[in-house]
């Protein structure tokens, strides 16, 4: 594993599979009487959230705690972050506190890269969603969920539907799923597909009805109503009619196909309530799997010395440094 997880593109196939397999073991911890492992005892994980996201923060918090790490939450509300303290100053504070990992959520694309590469901190950096860039742990948990239902993803056909342009989830998923050998189709109105999407490892379509019968999984993305005002689409009603997943459209799916949503859902917009609550929907399970996947990521980033296995002396030194 590399030292940071900033983008799904950081992971090659072996690394992605290692995380997913490890997550499988982590998930079984939840079924045991003691849902905790000592793996990260004495390690400090900071959840640095510049943007509100209770779900993701709780997921990382649970993951860190189940591995016995000390978890410190540092959120924008009611802290120096909302008083305009810079990312740099915050980073220097975390460094002084001895954080081993910083889980960062930020509205600015690339903020985790800055944190990891600017020399401000020595800790591992995990991207928990940055702007309209990426959200790699979400992609990992989505892949994990798909693997549980569909098995090996090699050759599986995945449709990702909705506001791809503004979606960090779509970016990370497209990259990770391609790495895992899946065939990804992005479905959206042309206004919500990014410029240059033709260079992504995916195919694109404007036609949801034509894509659904050929899909093993369909992932619906949240579409904010405000996009309407910027002329991305004419009205919520027209969007739902053309790209929303309702019971009729769900009927176009193969019997084994699953319905996913990274949340938070806007019922009635991109997904109808009966679809969200249907048996094909794995949306609740995605949340459960999120903790296991984040445990795997934190464990693999933090449990070892981070050094290549050479001589015992090197390993010992590296371990001591990490403790300091």
């Amino acid at each position: 594993m590399k030292r940071h997880l900033l983008s799904a593109a950081d992971l090659d196939r072996d690394e992605a599979l290692l995380i997913l397999d490890t997550a499988g073991e982590m998930r079984s911890l939840a079924d045991r009487p003691i849902k905790k492992s000592p793996a990260l005892r004495g390690r400090t994980v900071v959840n640095l959230f510049f943007e509100d996201s209770t779900r993701t923060r709780i997921s990382f918090e649970a993951a860190g705690k189940r591995l016995s790490a000390d978890v410190i939450n540092f959120s924008a509300k009611g802290s120096s972050l909302s008083k305009g303290e810079s990312l740099k100053d915050t980073a220097l504070t975390l460094e002084a506190m001895g954080a081993d990992a910083v889980v960062i959520r930020h509205s600015a694309s690339g903020a985790p890269h800055r944190l990891a590469n600017s020399g401000w901190v020595r800790s591992s950096v995990v991207n928990a969603g940055d702007g309209t860039h990426e959200h790699p742990t979400q992609a990992l948990l989505d892949a994990f969920t798909m693997r549980r239902h569909l098995g090996d993803l090699d050759g599986r056909r995945i449709a990702i539907v909705g506001d791809v342009l503004h979606s960090r989830v779509a970016r990370s998923n497209a990259l990770l799923l391609a790495t895992l050998g899946a065939e990804v189709t992005l479905v959206a109105p042309p206004t919500l597909l990014p410029v240059g999407v033709e260079t992504w490892p995916v195919t694109t379509s404007y036609d949801l009805d034509a894509t659904l019968p050929k899909s093993d999984a369909v992932m619906m993305l949240r579409v904010q109503r405000e996009r309407m005002n910027a002329a991305f689409f004419p009205s919520a009603r027209e969007y739902s009619r053309r790209y929303g997943l309702d019971a009729r459209r769900m009927g176009l799916l193969d019997a084994h196909a699953i319905v996913m949503h990274p949340g938070p859902m806007i019922r009635g917009m991109e997904i109808s309530a009966d679809v969200a609550d249907s048996e094909r929907s794995v949306i609740v399970e995605q949340v459960t799997n999120g903790v296991a996947v984040r445990m795997a990521v934190l464990y693999l980033l933090l449990s070892g010395s981070g050094e290549a296995p050479e001589t015992s002396e090197n390993n010992t030194t590296a371990g001591t440094e990490a403790l300091a």
Binding site: P38, L67, L301, A318
Partner: protein, 208 residues
Amino acid sequence: MVPTHTAADRGAERVVLDAEDIGRALTRISHEILERNKGADGLVLLGIPTRGVPLARRVGSRIQSVEGVSVPVGSLDVTMYRDDLRLRPARGLEHTEIPDSGVDDKTVVLIDDVLYSGRTIRSALDALSDLGRPRNVCLAVLVDRGHRELPIRADFVGKNLPTAHAQKVQVLLEEYDGRDAVLIVDSGPGESAPGSGSMEEDVTEVTR
């Protein structure tokens, strides 16, 4: 997976147990377990990955053929409980599978291929205590090569194998390596080749 390294790669190697020896040792261990436990009642066999797991299955099937009852067999990964976890690069987890019967109030037999420093077994005891509270726990190993660093001993031993620190004990099993054998390898210039056969589950050797 057949070892690809030749003897010349890593010094002289010597077969100390062949397939038949291993078979006989496991049969004897199975009988000893039954004798000590006065039957198969309440037994749970937990293999320590990787090579402890097929050994546990083999012991399980021997017990079944003797007693005619199926003994729960599972696996117990100790990776997250190792005392050298942060001294080495992060490692993936092996599979832990606890039989549905659980471990509470059972006689758990931990099964591993080689007993060396004892640190793996220490980790296994910690891992086990997070899973429940067995009535008692005992330990079966195919090879005990000595050099203990913790107050741990095996209850059932396939073969005691006096070795020097510099030597390595390599266990090959049909399930992973295509054949059954226990080798002693005098460390040569080539050093260890992880993945081709089990080179000690006890990790102290590598980190020493």
